[in-house]
């Protein structure tokens, strides 16, 4: 079992999933979460593009890099559907990493590298992306105001 989250950091949680470290579970888990969002109909694109990408990339990073594909480790997903936003927190059982160490994948020297775009896409498509100090837990926030424009410029 994954260690309980610090209660001082805990927000209201409407949905909690604990996944095995198996990338085949990601698609179904993301579909499950999106299918239970009460704002689905009027926020279709922000959910199907922004939130789907953000949550998928967070889960991929947690399984591939956080848990190093170790099938004995788990990934905890906590979702809160709040007024005007969705919050998703993804916690792995790895050692953590420094998100500042991930280079910009759009620079000429990195553009042809096969890796390094997951965190970049999360930052571009979500309104907030915050890591804990250890670097094994990421919290994503997507605002759901109609007609809003994300910092990354992708309009809903």
């Amino acid at each position: 079992m994954i260690d309980p989250i610090d209660p001082h950091q805990t927000r209201p949680r409407d949905l909690i999933l604990e996944l095995p470290t198996d990338v085949r579970t990601i698609e179904h888990a993301v579909d499950y979460v999106i299918g239970r969002c009460p704002a689905c109909a009027e926020q279709a694109r922000r959910l199907q593009l922004n939130f789907r990408v953000g949550l998928t990339e967070a889960l991929s990073n947690a399984m591939l890099y956080g848990n190093s594909r170790d099938p004995s480790k788990r990934v905890l997903v906590e979702i809160a559907f709040q007024l005007g936003c969705i919050q998703a927190r993804v916690t792995d059982q790895g050692q953590g990493f420094d998100p500042r160490s991930v280079p910009d994948p759009t620079t000429p020297e990195n553009l042809t590298k096969p890796c390094g775009r997951g965190l970049f896409l999360m930052r571009k498509l979500m309104d907030e992306v915050c890591y804990n100090d250890r670097g094994n837990q990421v919290t994503l926030v997507l605002k759901l105001e109609s007609g809003g424009i994300l910092e990354g410029g992708v309009q809903a």
């Binding site: 698609e27 096969p114 896409l121 990354g152």
Partner: protein
């Protein structure tokens, strides 16, 4: 979810059904590399029936494009929907690939 591989003249056409994500990217990579090893040099990957590509899927396209270029070939893409095009534009991969509106346009003059 899968990949349909067909021939159109000397071009290998790969149609992605469903999603290109971390869970199936190796299957696409294996299929294209097998064709490359058998002598094919021109590839079109078509996304008419693709809903989503994640960063791993983008990465495998970059990796394949590099390997094909090293062998003197080219990988072209076609039929990106609005969301997929957004992902390519955000990551600037639209500058790395020749992207056609349809697979027919991708095949033209290849």
């Amino acid at each position: 979810m899968g990949f349909q591989v067909s021939r159109n003249g000397d071009v290998t056409l790969v149609e992605v059904e469903g999603q290109l994500i971390v869970g199936n990217r190796q299957e696409l990579k294996q299929q294209v590399l097998e064709q490359l090893e058998s002598g094919d040099r021109k590839f079109v990957v078509d996304f008419s029936n693709t809903g989503y590509i994640d960063s791993s899927g983008l990465g495998v396209l970059v990796s394949l494009s590099k390997k094909i270029r090293e062998q003197g070939g080219e990988l072209r893409l076609s039929s990106l929907n609005e969301d997929l095009r957004t992902l390519f534009e955000l990551t600037k991969l639209d500058t790395l690939f020749r992207i056609a509106d349809t697979k027919d346009k991708a095949l033209e003059g290849f």
